[in-house]
Subunit: 440 residues, 2 copies
């Protein structure tokens, strides 16, 4: 993409009304614009990142055996009456009346709908187990939306639902999602610590929140650093290996990790001081086994192997997809701007011409741009007629992993500069060597 032809508006000043780094940077670098309190439009730069985050979530769900579908945003209130939680749900639910005065709502989550859909089409034990998911916009009418997309009102969520014939099956589905979540977050370059969460009246240990550290996070967190070094690549750890999955779960549960809600000072005292980690955290995912909570209330039953009717056991598994974009920035930025992990970067490489009026510079830049594109490397070419310093600042702000800086001085010696945004390392290379480095 040529910047001169793009809609990539960058703000000169850091916006003063944003409280946290990710919110400031998303506004300043032109990822999003607020269109109403807690509601954002994703401009092309933000949209590219959002799509990459979404795609990583999708791929790991598919690998875990979940099947994608798509439920609508607007739901009938009666569905929530059937599951018994329409009245219980607070003012966070956006309630709507249509032109015929029917009560509707903008879905904050989909347990009720997926249970009804599954109930209407699945009749036999032979059609279980199943795991279904969708990636769809949700709405929660937060009383004070803040922190940009980290706590917005309209947000993109991946929610998966598992249906199993018994508790053992439900547990297996839970373990698979646990692994999928750990792999998902790792691919994005963020540390999201699984923490024991309150599982309400159902009890048990099958409820985890995935939390990343952020200075203004909504809860206080306490965890043993051991949980950060769990090996996800070890032999025997696959979605089909029950023993490996159980071992992973035990390892996760064996290391202390809790939010202020579930914190246990006695257990905390037993953690080695050197391994203690505390801070504020923001939730980016939640997995939860809730058994027959919805299937029972909504009459979902299938004929069992022996002819009896069986009530399937369910779990739900959420990832805040749009929130993750903010979370990644919280985890990866410096004073100059965003530092994208390569897996979610809007473009891998940015090309900057230091002098847009120098023929040799422009020719070298256009040539590299064309060759990188031909090699399938996503490249943003800042070809604008702007001062070099302004362009370099913009590149640092937008945070592409690699910059190629081209100017008359270097070209005289036959070189361009290749800069790594994360480390700040710079190398002078011939254009050919730069190309080889960034396409390898």
């Amino acid at each position: 993409m040529r910047l001169s032809q793009s809609f990539l508006p960058v703000l000169k000043e850091s916006p003063s009304d944003a409280q946290i780094a990710s919110h400031k940077l998303m506004l300043q670098a032109g990822l999003v614009r607020q269109t109403a309190a807690g509601i954002y439009a994703w401009l092309p730069l933000g949209w590219r990142v959002l799509q990459k985050v979404e795609q990583i979530v999708r791929e790991e769900q598919d690998r875990a055996g979940a099947q994608e579908m798509l439920m609508p945003t607007i739901q009938p209130a009666d569905l929530w009456r059937e599951s018994g939680r329409y009245d219980a749900y607070g003012p966070e639910m956006l309630r709507i009346k249509d032109r015929h005065d029917r009560e509707m709502l903008y879905g904050p989550t989909n347990e009720d709908m997926i249970t009804a859909l599954f109930r209407d089409d699945v009749k036999s034990y032979r059609d279980l187990p199943r795991m279904l998911y969708h990636i769809q916009w949700k709405f929660r009418d937060e009383v004070r939306p803040r922190f940009g997309v980290m706590r917005g009102r309209e947000f993109l969520m991946k929610d998966a639902y598992s249906f199993d014939l018994d508790e053992a099956g439900g547990q297996r589905s839970y373990y698979r999602q646990l692994l999928a979540y750990l792999r998902t977050f790792r691919r994005m370059g963020i540390k999201a610590v699984p923490m024991q969460a309150d599982s309400g009246p159902i009890g048990g240990k099958l409820s985890h929140e995935f939390i990343i550290l952020a200075p203004n996070g909504e809860s206080e967190v306490f965890y043993d650093a051991a949980v950060e070094s769990i090996d996800l690549d070890r032999p025997g750890l696959s979605y089909d290996d029950d023993a490996g999955l159980a071992a992973l779960f035990n390892e996760v549960t064996g290391s202390y990790a809790a939010t202020d809600e579930t914190h246990d000072p006695a257990r905390w005292a037993m953690v080695d001081d050197k391994a203690k980690r505390t801070g504020r955290g923001i939730e980016v995912g939640h997995i939860f086994y809730f058994g027959d909570r919805y299937s029972k209330a909504m009459g979902l039953k299938v004929s069992g192997r022996d002819g009896d009717m069986v009530t399937p056991m369910m779990g739900s598994y959420g990832v805040g997809v749009s929130r993750l974009v903010g979370a990644i920035i919280e985890a990866s930025h410096d004073d100059n701007g965003i530092i994208w992990p390569e897996a979610v970067a809007p473009w891998k490489v940015g090309i900057v011409t230091m002098r847009a009026d120098d023929e040799a510079t422009v020719a070298a830049a256009a040539d590299l741009y064309q060759k990188l594109g031909a090699a399938g490397v996503e490249t943003l070419y800042d070809d604008r007629d702007e001062r070099g310093g302004v362009k370099l600042g913009g590149m640092d702000l937008m945070g592409l992993p690699w910059q190629i800086i081209i100017g008359p001085r270097g070209l005289k010696d036959g070189v361009v500069e290749v800069k790594n945004r994360a480390s700040g390392e710079r190398e002078e290379l011939t254009p050919e060597a730069a190309l080889a480095k960034l396409t390898s």
Copy 2:
């Protein structure tokens, strides 16, 4: 995908409450389920098709030079007051009050929002022209939703918006979208005829609806068959070639094509009788140049080349993405079910075992399934323990372009059957030859 592990529910009976073929087939083959009047959940089969349709739309927009972004579904009413159409918009608009009693709405379209976003970030003629688009769910509260996803209330739309410095530029953007639309629909295997549409108070010819024939269509259409044979691959027809684009526009406008709204019996009488085509039609796209209608009302101005302030000229370009899934089925089905054009098929190949209890059959099927997958061919393997006839009926209903039918009888002679869903042609081939045919 193995059907035994999928959520692909097929109805035994054709649903009696659906009026048109596409609606019946989408329900029966398990593409969608209605969750409220005019609101649908897309099950995995439907979701796969919807994604492919969306991706074709996206690719052609990108080629035409439009940049993707994403605007939210919920908009503030004040934005529509600014453009002056909040009160004028009828009961089709889903009006909402949030917890603080602020007036919001579920966006039926986005002219107002994109104009505001562009206005707030773009200040100079150097940042024009631009074309932006998004693919997002919209809501129109139809009084009587019907025909399934063809006229639903919540629907997926691609809407693009162009910003140009003058009318000539606006016209160029319009021509580019015209070409993009013709190419988009052709890739999906449907005939969508561009028809002169009412351009309201602005006048001029820069308003076209793209209409496909369907027996229960909402309007009557009249057109000259010549418009169906416009050559989109001729040399010189590219997004950067103004003369080629203008010639295309003249050719489109030169052939008579109108709905009952714009029908002109005098011009119609002049069309060669052999070339006359009439029928009922459904709109799947609309492109529209509206000049400064929104930029003027909302104060969008940029500094011009000579320092004066310029009001950009705009156009908007919509495609009914979810509606297209129904439109494709209307255009391509028979008594046995759907016939997917390969470009949008949920899977390219379906494998059916006639006897799930025959070892050789299952081994041959599993082997082909594995090899097709390894070759990157999307394959659905019906490995269920069901009667062969039931499985064949299901495959015809779901409409995958190719079927491989494997049974003990054929295998004794070393062959499987390869069936083309569209032509009904069957061929007996060795498994190796079948593989070669479907991977070539």
